[in-house]
Amino acid sequence: MSWGGNTIARSLALVTVATGAAFVHWGFRPIVTTLAPPKQDEPSDVKAPPVPDSDEPVPFNPNTLGTEIRTEDAYQLWLGGMTTFIDARPQHEYVEGHIPFAFLVPPDSLADGRLGDMMELGGVFPETRVVVYCEGGNCDASHLVALNLQDMGFTKIHIDVDGYPSWAKAGYEIETGPDAVLGELP
């Protein structure tokens, strides 16, 4: 047997078979679904969030939220003030604008112990309810950060699937500049 088009064609066939197996595996067990649903608060922990600028109070219960939430629910959690927001976008996008008080933790920084810094410097504990967001759409960053949070013992994790663009478009509060608590990335 010798080198030639046959070898290349067979190589491509092997890669095709592997790709098919990978997509079947991914389809049955995507990374996203390995994220556990958020744990419910203890009854005493449930507080009615303030709903400003509204004639009729809209009932909002964080315990009813699933893992993937929309920007409106994220905003309600933000108004409640008991939720930590994590921005999983690159630093330059965070500096240009982010949800106020959100920590900057892009997936690239996970290996540097950024989540550990957040817990230590930001006083965030695994019992805390967290919302992770990135650019929305196809971005995987929020899921990656969320899964790492889950590995660290966090049990109330939400992902704002609409991402920061939806937040900004809705006219909710934003702030600019580097992360005031964790500082800039190295």
Binding site: M1, W3, T7, I8, R10, S11, A13, L14, V15, V17, A18, T19, A21, A22, F23, H25, W26, P30, I31, V32, T34, P90, P107, D108, L110, A111, D112, E135, G137, N138, C139, D140, A141, H143, L144, L147, N148, D151, P186
Partner: protein
């Protein structure tokens, strides 16, 4: 080549095939057991464009390609092609590590064998990982050049084809 030399050559190629396949089966199993860690590792290399949405498919495609080609190497089925794919992947990984070394603002672990290491100490990807990939390519290279050898499916299939052709020729004459 004499029969003895062919047998020794086949045995060496079989050993190289099994060694390479074993390493890749291990690497693939480790990656598939924790696709999140591998996806995080791929992301850390900052090679893929932003907003690509390919991270999760890649986190499955790379280990599955390693697994399929390693299985092919074990039995010597399309052995040369399997070795070529694995060698090509190792070369791509090596280029990715070099790109990290050349960008001092990035520090990322290799992730080649998940949380385990082979020849290099744990920590940031460095030249040791490039050399390690070079050694692994050297392991697969003889199979790329000479094929999977005597003790392989390919050789058995080739032998059967030859025998069938001889039978046909005999019947025809």
């Amino acid at each position: 080549m004499s029969g003895t030399a062919r047998t020794i050559g086949g045995a060496i190629l079989l050993a190289l095939r099994l060694a390479t396949a074993g390493l890749f089966i291990w690497a693939a199993t480790v990656k598939l057991s924790d696709p999140v860690a591998f996806a995080t590792s791929i992301n850390g290399f900052k090679i893929l464009p932003h907003h690509h949405g390919m991270l999760q498919p890649l986190a499955f495609m790379v280990p599955w390609t390693e697994l399929v080609c390693a299985a092919a190497l074990v039995v010597g089925f399309w052995g040369r092609s399997a070795a070529l794919v694995l060698g090509g992947m190792l070369a791509i990984f090596a280029v990715a590590v070099v790109s990290v070394i050349l960008r001092p603002d990035i520090s990322v672990e290799c992730g080649c064998f998940g949380k385990f290491t082979l020849l290099c100490p744990p920590g940031e990807a460095d030249w040791c990982n490039v050399i390690q990939n070079g050694i692994l390519i050297a392991l697969a290279l003889p199979v790329m050049i000479w094929g999977p050898g005597l003790f392989s499916w390919d050789r058995w299939a080739e032998h059967r084809c030859r025998m069938a052709r001889l039978d046909d020729a005999e019947k025809a004459s």
